[in-house]
């Protein structure tokens, strides 16, 4: 879009702006609706015709707190942070090694790693369950952390490898000539250049973990309840608690939005790095 900047502002610009605004409005409407449900009294929830104006209530919030949903939020947060941190710590050197070092059967090993991501999660959760039952990791925070780490690690290594490949190898050679060891080169030359890629990829890993339901449901049991798993609890014998569901749903959305918003500069740069460099 080299000519976009030089195009005179006018009817065409206005047209596109309007189009984008309309599109955004359509996309954001469900979110707005969910947000309004948080403070909507139950009798206004499904009123016909739609009540746009109502007296806001905090009942849904107090119910959610009473039921201890904030503990699920904390569980989710700690679980995703720890598992993503582990992925970064283990995955970054692995991705670098796959990109740079010659080893026997490298491609096969890489495909194997990728394969664990290709299988539908349902196929993996059964063996996970059986193994966890044997070693006593069921219903434990550690077990779930390891599971999340496992399925995010393959994705992370896969994406970060291409970032590593795009780095000019001469930088590392130049540093090697100065007498640095591989570890020093990795820490002080490669890592700073990979930072954007690491941020972008780990944010994606965090979001995957944050949204994950199946593993948390099967492996976490009653002891470890993440936010996605806690939501169905609001489908009670007395009916579905829509307002409370909206509260939990919005709560689940906020950290993701916040992370993306704060780090968007890194993410955009990271995700477009390969393409821009050409």
């Amino acid at each position: 879009m080299a000519d976009a900047a030089s195009r005179p502002e006018g009817s065409r610009g206005l047209f596109w702006t309007t189009l984008v605004i309309v599109y955004a409005a359509i996309m954001l409407f469900p979110i707005f609706w969910m947000a309004s449900m948080m403070v909507k009294p139950n009798d206004a929830m499904f009123a016909r015709p739609t009540q746009w104006l109502f007296v806001p209530t905090l009942d849904h919030f107090s119910y959610v707190i009473e039921q201890g949903f904030h503990w699920s939020l904390l569980t989710s947060f700690v679980l995703c942070t720890v598992s993503t941190a582990l992925v970064v710590i283990i995955g970054t050197p692995a991705a670098y090694a796959f990109a740079r070092f010659e080893m026997k059967g490298k491609d096969d090993l890489f495909l194997f790693i990728l394969g664990s991501r290709m299988a539908p999660p349902v196929c993996l959760v059964i063996p996970f369950y059986l193994i966890y039952a044997r070693v006593g990791l069921l219903d434990s925070f550690l077990g779930l952390t390891l599971a999340y780490m496992t399925f995010n690690l393959s994705f992370y290594v896969w994406v970060l490898r291409s970032f590593c490949r795009d780095l000019p190898v001469e930088l590392e050679e130049a540093a090697a000539l100065e007498g640095w060891s591989k570890v020093q080169i990795f820490r002080r030359v490669v890592f700073p250049l990979l930072r954007n890629g690491i941020v972008a990829t780990s944010v994606l890993c965090f979001i995957f973990a944050w949204n994950e339901f199946l593993f948390a449901f099967m492996l976490g049991g009653k002891a470890v309840t993440t936010l996605p798993v806690s939501i169905p609890k609001l489908i009670t014998s007395q009916g579905v608690r829509w307002g409370e569901m909206a509260v939990v749903g919005m709560t689940a959305l906020i950290p993701v939005l916040a992370v993306v918003f704060v780090l968007q500069r890194h993410i955009v740069r990271g995700l477009t790095l390969g393409a821009v460099k050409g």
């Binding site: 000019p168 930088l171 050679e173 130049a174 090697a176 100065e178």
Partner: protein, 365 residues
């Protein structure tokens, strides 16, 4: 400063020999160019000297010290890379000072050293700029500064000029040469550009398919190429190479013939040969000129170069058109495409290669 010697060095990648039995020496304070087309093994050779690539067999000597088992950092070498390999998040000053910082040299001695090198390279004003936005020429200067800053025993240049604009290329070429002579640092220059090799190096080693073809002073390679590859690779426009037969003292080709002097004749066996003559040793005369024209022909193409004209001539063979010959004469000349000419060859400069072995029959191997 130390000398560098390659002793029966091989580099194998699986089945492929990237470098085959390389024996080559570079004297202390000398600049040696490794010249060849891409994939000829010149860069691999350089990287083996740097320690970035391992040596499959053979030994590399720096002075009297075998280095092939040493890590790159233990060899006291510096390298200048094709795409500069500067640390993008550092300034000019920090990049040049990097080798000192790594070695724990800081404070006054370090800044004096860095300042001196920046001065030498004319980078003083840019010292605090980040390297990201610099021009290619400036970036390569910084890279050279980084190489010079700690007085290495050897500097390895890996195609240092190939990404630069023409004017910067010429400027930096002279500069590298000047600094290399000033510091008397042993250097190896890898390039695919013969002009660069000839302009900068004391001696040039030509490689092809991993095999060293010939080493010598640039003028030697130009005047006495050891084989057809070197003859064809060095010189612009390239040497005319024509199939011919040699018998007694006469060389007969398609549409041309010459007689060699008796002194040269004794050394040459009869048989199929390839005759080589540089375009500037071909003269063109009016077709009716009296005397000993080697051949007659028609100009089919004229390329004016300002000070010279490069003319392509198709020789009249007995039947139809014969071989082609390129002549470079002082220009601008009056010759035009379509003109009939008589062709004179400087027989003293004519080279004789064996058709089968492709070797120059008059150069000792």
């Amino acid at each position: 400063m130390s000398s560098i010697a390659f002793e029966s060095v091989f580099k194998r990648y699986g089945e492929v020999d990237a470098v085959k039995e390389l024996n080559l020496a570079c004297g202390a304070g000398e600049m040696l160019a490794l010249l060849g087309p891409s994939g000829c093994g010149k860069s691999t050779t350089l990287k083996m000297a740097a320690g970035i690539e391992s040596v499959s067999s053979g030994e590399i000597w720096f002075g009297d010290k075998p280095v092939s088992r040493l890590a790159p950092g233990e060899r006291n070498i510096a390298m200048v890379f094709e795409d500069y390999a500067l640390y993008p998040n550092m300034t000019v000053w920090e990049n040049v000072g990097f080798p000192l910082k790594v070695r724990g040299i800081t404070g006054q001695p370090a800044s004096a050293r860095i300042g001196e090198v920046l001065q030498l390279l004319g980078l003083r004003q840019m010292a605090d700029q980040p390297v990201r936005g610099l021009s290619g020429g400036a970036m390569q200067r910084v890279s050279i500064g980084r190489a010079l800053v700690r007085d290495p025993e050897v500097i390895l240049f890996d195609e240092p000029l190939s990404h630069l604009d023409a004017d910067q290329k010429v400027q930096l070429r002279a500069e590298i040469k000047r600094l290399q002579k000033l510091r008397q640092v042993t250097s190896i220059l890898v390039t695919h550009d013969q002009t660069e090799a000839i302009a900068m190096a004391d001696r040039v080693a030509v490689m092809n398919h991993g095999v060293l073809q010939q080493v010598g002073a640039p003028q030697d390679l130009y005047e006495r190429p050891a084989n057809l590859f070197v003859a064809n690779f060095i010189g612009e426009p390239p040497m005319n190479l024509m199939k011919a037969a040699y018998a007694a003292n006469r060389i007969v080709g398609e549409g041309w013939e010459v007689t060699l002097s008796t002194a040269r004749r004794v050394k040459l066996p009869d048989g199929a040969i390839v005759a080589g003559i540089r375009p500037e040793h071909v003269t063109l005369l009016p077709p009716d000129a009296a005397g000993s024209a080697a051949a007659r022909g028609t100009i089919i193409y004229r390329e004016p170069r300002g000070d010279a004209d490069v003319l392509t001539v198709v020789l009249d063979a007995g039947t139809g058109a014969g071989g082609k010959l390129v002549a470079e004469i002082a220009g601008p000349s009056d010759w035009r495409a379509g003109d009939k000419v008589a062709v004179g060859l400087d027989v003293g400069r004519l080279l004789v290669f064996d058709a089968a072995s492709q070797k120059n029959l008059e150069v000792a191997p």
